[in-house]
């Protein structure tokens, strides 16, 4: 796999982690950590570690994010800052750009669209094509974007 994808994913990971650590709003921190968990899971998945990537996404983007949100709600220590639609739109645009750039780079570097080695025997007829792999990741990203936009919208 080309180094451009690794660079893009590393940049996305660093941006999300920095925004999580150095933002004043706890809502921004939680959302950024959710995205960082997804990016780390995508890195593992793209580099032949599908089981590790899926487990990482399930545990950190799923369970730990929910536990963090529950702890914030129970303690009520910080303002959740709900109602920033512009921030949600900005986050969505950045995510779309990152996913678009990564997918363009992936599709342009694969000559025939076939992965070098199938990573699992489970559902091999699906995983034999790398674009299917990427499509599922894009669907996960789109679903997470929808959740973020719903969380931050003023109607909530």
């Amino acid at each position: 796999m080309s180094g451009e994808v690794a660079l893009l994913l590393s940049a996305a990971l660093l941006v999300t982690v920095i925004s999580a650590l150095f933002s004043r709003s706890m809502a921004m921190t939680l959302i950024s950590m959710f995205y960082a968990s997804l990016v780390v899971g995508v890195i593992f998945t793209l580099y032949q570690g599908i089981l590790v990537g899926l487990l990482h996404i399930i545990i950190f983007a799923g369970a730990v994010s929910v536990m963090l949100l529950t702890a914030v709600l129970m303690t009520g220590e910080t303002d959740l800052g709900i109602g920033k639609r512009s921030l949600a739109v900005l986050l969505s645009a950045v995510t779309i750009l990152i996913v678009g750039a990564a997918s363009y780079s992936l599709f342009s570097t694969l000559p025939s669209g076939v992965a070098e080695t199938p990573t699992m025997n489970l559902l091999e007829f699906v995983w034999v094509f790398r674009p299917w792999d990427l499509l599922i990741l894009v669907i996960i990203f789109a679903a997470s974007m929808t959740v973020v936009v719903n969380l931050l919208s003023k109607e909530q």
Partner: protein, 102 residues
């Protein structure tokens, strides 16, 4: 030559450094847990990157799996302790908690 392994190892080192820095300067226990999560991400990425180039990929994946489970468990226990501390002291600032305890 900038390989994928080099890129991910550098990113992992930066993540661990950022996490330790944020743990040191955090004034909120929730932010401390988030910083610890960043350190776990860095450790996982470093372990995974160590198995990218050679034949030790399976060993690296196994270590990452172990690290994920341990990291998630530690964060769950830490969050439970944070909720208990907030119930007892009413704040999440470590400095205030230290003064209230004395």
């Amino acid at each position: 030559m900038l390989t994928d392994q080099t890129i991910f190892t550098t990113t992992a080192a930066v993540l661990v450094f950022l996490g330790v820095f944020a743990i040191s300067y955090s004034k909120n226990l929730l932010k401390t847990i988030v910083s610890f999560q960043v350190v776990v991400f860095g450790a996982n990425l470093g372990l995974f990157a160590s198995g990218l180039g050679g034949s030790s990929s399976l060993m690296a994946n196994t270590l990452v799996l172990f690290s994920i489970v341990v990291g998630g468990s530690v964060e769950a226990v830490g969050l439970a302790l944070i909720v208990l501390v907030h119930k007892k002291y009413g704040t999440l600032d470590p400095g205030k908690i230290r003064r209230l305890r004395d």
